[in-house]
Amino acid sequence: MTGPLAALPDEELSVLDLADRLLNRGVVITGEATISVAGVDLVYLGLNVILTAVETIAQREARTR
C-alpha cells in the first residue's frame, strides 16, 4: 500500500472513521439550526476519508449561503 492511510495503525483508522461519521452523519436539524465547523482544527485530517467529510460540509455551507 502506498497512500497515507496505509501507514496508519488500525486504532488511528478507527479514530478517523469515527470523525468521518461525526462530521457527515447524525440527524440534521432543519429550520433554524446552522451547521458549521468553522474554526475546527482540520490540519491533522489531511486524509481522503476525512477530506470527503470536510468537502461535504463546505458544499452544504455553500448551498445555504
Partner: protein, 237 residues
C-alpha cells in the same frame, strides 16, 4: 453571544450527564415529547478535534441512558425557542427515528485497497496509421482511468454484497459507500441490537480478514450515527 451546541435528541424524560463540552452547562430543552441536549456556549465558538470526540462521548452516554438520536457535529441553535420550534416542526420524523434506533448500535467497517494504484486497463483502441497524437494519448489515459475506477467500484460493490450476506444483515440495517477515495474500497455501517453489537463486530472482523486484496478495520460499537435518516425509496444503501 450565547448559543446552543446540539448533541442528541431523546425522549423528554431521559436523564443525562450534567456537564457539556469543556465543562460548560448542558441542558435538555424540551418540545412535545422530545428533548434536545445541548451545551450552552458563550462567546465565539472555535471548535477543535477534542470537541468532536467529547461530543461523541456525550452522545454515547446519552444513548446508554435511553433511546437517542445523535445530532450531526457542528449543529448550532440560537436559543431555546429555536430548539423548540425545530423539535415541534420535525416531531414526527425525530420520534420515528428514535423508536427505530432504540437499543441499537453501529459497527463500522472500513476496507482499504492493498494496492490502490493497481491499474486494470481496458482493451486497446485500434492503432491508427501514423504517430500517436497527444489527443489520442489523452483519451487513452482517460479511458484507462475510467476503466480502473469502474472495475474498482464493481469490486467494492461485490465485497459489500458478500459481507452483508455473510453477516446475515438485512438491507435496512446496512449503509455503505464504495470507493469514497482512491485508497478506500468500502465504508460500511452495520446496525445491531446493543447486546449483539460486540458479537457482530467479531464476526465482521473475521469476515473482512478473509477478503483478498483489502485491509479491513472494524470499529465501534458506536451510537447509530449513520442510521438517523430513513433510507430513501429505492436506495440500496
Amino acid at each position: 453571544m450565547t448559543r446552543l451546541f446540539a448533541h442528541a435528541i431523546t425522549r423528554r424524560a431521559t436523564g443525562g450527564p450534567l456537564v457539556g463540552l469543556r465543562g460548560k452547562p448542558l441542558e435538555q430543552i424540551t418540545g412535545g415529547e422530545l428533548g434536545l441536549w445541548a451545551t450552552r456556549w458563550d462567546g465565539e465558538p472555535t471548535l477543535s478535534r477534542d470537541d468532536a470526540f467529547a461530543h461523541h462521548d456525550l452522545v454515547a452516554v446519552l444513548c446508554e441512558a435511553g433511546p437517542c438520536l445523535p445530532v450531526r457535529f457542528g449543529t448550532w441553535l440560537s436559543d431555546a425557542g429555536a430548539v423548540r420550534r425545530s423539535l415541534d416542526a420535525d416531531q414526527e420524523r425525530f420520534t420515528s427515528a428514535i423508536d427505530r434506533l432504540a437499543d441499537r448500535r453501529e459497527v463500522a467497517v472500513t476496507l482499504l485497497w492493498r494496492d490502490p494504484s493497481a491499474v486494470r486497463p481496458g482493451p486497446a483502441l485500434p492503432d491508427p496509421a501514423g504517430p500517436r497524437s497527444t489527443g489520442r494519448a489523452f483519451l487513452e489515459r482517460r479511458r484507462t482511468a475510467h476503466a480502473t475506477t469502474d472495475h474498482r467500484r464493481r469490486e467494492a460493490e461485490a465485497i459489500a454484497v458478500r459481507l452483508r450476506r455473510e453477516l446475515g444483515i438485512g438491507q435496512p440495517d446496512v449503509r455503505h459507500e464504495s470507493c469514497p477515495s482512491a485508497e478506500v474500497a468500502l465504508t460500511m455501517s452495520l446496525l445491531a441490537r446493543t447486546d449483539e453489537a460486540d458479537a457482530l463486530k467479531a464476526r465482521a472482523t473475521a469476515a473482512v480478514a478473509a477478503i483478498a486484496g483489502v485491509r479491513g478495520v472494524v470499529s465501534g460499537p458506536w451510537p447509530p450515527y449513520s442510521f438517523t435518516e430513513e433510507l430513501e425509496r429505492g436506495h440500496g444503501g
